[in-house]
């Protein structure tokens, strides 16, 4: 019997594959469609431009009542993403998660976070500080990471 969880994941996957949002590409794991591979293309006018950043999305059986777990697989120099690929974004926190939030909205929010970092709620405070006080140095470093890891 298809559960709410599997029906919902399949439907969202179908929608995202049929009409992918700008710069975002989603493919399910071959053996398990509850794990997605997501590739975000770095937004223009950012040090991430043209980089290919891979993420994994892992849906528990409690989805959509619990948020999916998203992890960056590609190293990034970004105040809200740590070296293990964890990302800090309000709408994915368990206490804020709304079951009616769609994955297209989640991915759009992550894209926006890459485009516009949020140094006020950082995961890596040293990067956040550099972002605020030395934007040039930050841009240079982030671009280095992009060309080294994301091509």
């Amino acid at each position: 019997m298809a559960s709410t969880s599997t029906r919902r994941i399949q439907k969202e996957l179908g929608d995202l594959m049929n009409s992918p949002p700008e710069g975002i590409q989603v493919t399910p794991d071959e053996d398990n469609f509850q794990i997605w591979k997501i590739i975000i293309t770095g937004p223009p006018n950012t040090p991430y431009h043209k980089g290919k950043f891979q993420l994994s999305a892992d849906f528990s059986k409690d989805y959509p009542f619990k948020p999916p777990v998203l992890i960056f697989k590609t190293k990034m120099y970004h105040p809200n993403i740590d070296s293990d690929g964890n990302l800090c974004i309000g709408l994915l926190k368990t206490e804020n998660w709304k079951p009616a939030t769609k994955m297209s909205g989640v991915l759009q929010a992550i894209y926006n976070l890459i485009e516009t970092p949020n140094p006020d709620d950082p995961l890596v405070s040293s990067i956040a500080e550099q972002y605020t006080t030395d934007r040039k140095g930050f841009d240079k470093r982030a671009a280095e990471y992009t060309s080294k890891y994301a091509h």
Binding site: T4, K11, P64, F65, E95, N96, P99, A100, K102
Partner: protein, 300 residues
């Protein structure tokens, strides 16, 4: 503050704080400790989402050493026939789970279940355009609403096991998927109603932590739509008005005892809470809601 005197004397060691504790008596240290413990509510997770009824005397035992006001209120409930408690799990969704059970029991015990089911069905249908107006995704809210609507349709057929008696209803609502879907659907109905009646509700939309006013959108996003967020007056009022159903909540706290005809403080929500309208009846203890009913004898 006089309420503290009853048990505040000579109590050097920390007391046990649970759903029976009057929140107004908490010290700052106790609040800090509770906040720390919020991530570790595993003990709650072993309890059923909603239980078959326990006698009110079980609740009374928990208060035997507690305040006399609460005992008087419990005794008044018992004397007046409110002798069954259907416990909801204390996971922040207890109001919505209690609401669901009480809502379905109300249809079950109606003298004309089919008619009542049809009326309820129609009332819920009326909330669909509101959700659409608020920009919620149609496929999503229909999916969340489906378990509740199909249960209500079950009364129409009369032979659906899930809704043929109290036990069937409780058992169905103990299924996490069914129950969680319904909780989300009720949260979306509540949220849309608050959003579309912003002017009425905005003076009451406060953060439960800071007590500072929140915008309608902030309130709905942070206090209504996510699972696990307790319902307070605004949410209860919105759901009751949206589904056109009266709700009476008995407040089991240390507030002053009312007159002899109503020792416990009942707070009414919705247009019609007279006995004829058969309002839903819930029991509130600080931070927690359960269903309270008078025992209904099976119809022969």
């Amino acid at each position: 503050m006089s309420a503290q005197k009853n048990e505040g004397e000579g109590q050097p060691q920390p007391r046990v704080i649970d759903e029976n504790t009057d929140l107004s008596t908490l010290t700052d240290q106790e609040i800090m400790k509770l906040m720390e413990g919020m991530d570790h509510q595993d003990s709650q997770m072993d309890k059923p989402l909603i239980s078959t009824p326990v006698p009110l005397s079980v609740i009374r035992q928990e208060y035997e050493k507690g305040s006399t006001q609460i005992l008087k209120k419990l005794d008044w409930l018992a004397e007046n026939g409110w002798d069954q408690i259907w416990r909801a799990r204390g996971d922040g969704d207890c109001f919505y789970r209690s609401f669901t059970l009480a809502y379905l029991l109300r249809i079950l015990h109606s003298s004309n279940s089919q008619l009542e089911a049809n009326l309820s069905f129609e009332n819920i249908q009326k909330s669909l355009p509101l959700m659409e107006q608020c920009g919620f995704d149609k496929d999503l809210y229909e999916e969340f609403l489906d378990p509740l609507l199909s249960l209500i349709r079950g009364f129409d057929n009369g032979d659906d096991e899930k809704t043929s008696n109290e036990y069937g209803i409780v058992q169905t609502l103990q299924n996490p998927e069914t129950s969680n879907c319904i909780v989300v659907a009720l949260r979306l109905i509540t949220s849309s109603y608050i959003r579309l009646h912003s002017e009425t509700f905005s003076p009451f939309l406060l953060s439960p932590i800071t007590f500072l006013p929140l915008s309608t959108d902030e309130f709905c996003r942070s206090e209504v739509e996510p699972c696990g967020k307790e319902a307070d007056h605004a949410q209860i009022m919105a759901l009751s008005e949206s589904l056109n159903i009266g709700i009476k909540i008995a407040y089991l706290d240390r507030s002053d005892i009312g007159d002899e005809t109503n020792v416990i403080n009942w707070v009414d929500f919705g247009k019609d809470t007279t006995e004829n309208a058969k309002p839903l009846t819930l029991l509130y203890r600080p931070g927690h809601y359960d269903v309270v009913t008078k025992d209904v004898l099976p119809q022969i």
